[in-house]
Symmetry: C2
Subunit: 229 residues, 2 copies
DNA sequence: AAGTGCCACCTGCTATAGCAGATGTCCATG
DNA sequence: CATGGACATCTGCTATAGCAGGTGGCACTT
């Protein structure tokens, strides 16, 4: 386990607990810390070159995210997730992103809409060039701008946690086929249109459908299940 | 502030951090710790008769719940919530409870359905007797059984956090009029019917509508807004 | 050889001490 | 009287030390 984690490199402005949290989070999401691995507060602390408290703090937060379970006086291990569980979390994320879209449709400023338009324009170019890497980043920006426009920290935090599971599922399933890139582009365009029209209901429906469709093509969600609205 | 919190009474089996977390959570929800109150790790620790670490741990978790914000090196204060924010959180909760209902419709065992039937039967009696207190408890059981049937810890945890905001909103608005009790009963009955039919889409729609309607009669949600499906 | 109790070790958990940074007060200065 | 700066004091944050409980293995017994 000490081989999976390295000490911190440079002095940053974030607290050690925060840094340890993100570090562990990334390690779990990227699979560096595989499911079932036992994590010791002390050994991990010495591996990171810090004390035990920040590590413990990070583990507590990860536990609240559900990425880790700790048996009192026994140990802490990274949680395991079957495909079924990942599918559940995907559906939850779809619902939350839908609500985020609805809120954004009501609250978004013209500046936000302009930023989104810029992102979508970039998506069109990246799709034409089949640049999957740029597309992934643009997709992240798209959702980040939208969620940020809601101004709701709870929503942002929850979706951030759910994204971790999403990445975790991406490891299990084979990478999404590049042939659905045009489809994703069309969906983003239609979502943006609904946002511009300031239609919460339509924005929510389209966003939710988009996330669900994305999950099915990723193999996380099996059936193209019937959905409301 | 030290007058709002008292030392722990007896030795329980839970960790001090966990106890402090729940204690503070309840105090915030019940309004004992009003919004904007400054919380000091040290003073709160001495008030509870424990050390500072468990308190800090609890504050970190509360921060992740969004109930508290902490400015580095400056202090920790309980977050403030306008009615608008509470309305947002209510809509989020409605969406999540909807997903929970959908999952429950797929996974619920016959035993779970029987328990729900029992609860609904109790609701019918309590509604006839206008016993609001029993009704509140039964309502809580109803949702608890349903959420537990999903077996999804993330969902349960998130909804638990959201319930805190819900209680917070209940303090602001005047108590729900007792005249909507029959309406709530009918909604619960219809939800149970959808669950028995194992219809995820219908269960979700009805549950979501139920939560939204409940929020509107509580005054948290203003308009009886149009909703999907 | 199989069962059993004991003990060293490891775990999460809590307490104490002390750090750097931010704040407010009080005094000297214009 | 107004203003700027130094210091006491508060804050969150981290490190060190030590606690109780749980595990595994080794020796001893039968």
């Amino acid at each position: 386990m000490s081989s999976a984690v390295e000490p911190f490199a440079e002095t940053e402005t974030l607290s050690l607990g925060e840094r340890a949290y993100r570090r562990l989070r990334d390690s779990i999401v990227q699979g560096t810390l595989s499911a079932g691995s036992r994590i010791s507060e002390r050994s991990l602390a010495s591996a990171l070159g810090i004390s035990a408290q920040p590590v413990r703090e990070a583990l507590r937060r990860l536990e609240q995210d559900g990425l880790v379970v700790t048996l009192p006086r026994r140990g802490t291990i990274v949680a395991e997730f079957g495909l079924e569980r990942l599918a559940e979390l995907g559906r939850i994320r779809a619902a939350l992103e839908g609500v985020a879209a609805a809120l954004a449709a009501e609250r978004m400023t013209g500046e936000d809409l302009a930023s989104l338009g810029e992102v979508v324009r970039g998506m069109r170019a990246a799709t034409a060039a089949a640049d999957t890497e740029a597309l992934a980043e643009l997709n992240e920006r798209f959702h980040a701008i939208l969620q940020g426009a809601t101004g709701n920290m709870f929503l942002v935090r929850s979706l951030e946690a759910l994204r971790a599971y999403d990445d975790l599922g991406r490891l299990r399933a084979i990478g999404s086929a590049p042939k659905d890139m045009p489809k994703a582009l069309r969906e983003h365009v239609s979502i943006l249109a609904a946002l511009r029209a300031r239609d919460p209901v339509l924005s929510e429906a389209r966003m939710r459908a988009h996330v669900l469709r994305s999950l099915t093509t990723n193999g996380v969600l099996s059936a193209p299940r019937k959905r409301p609205a």
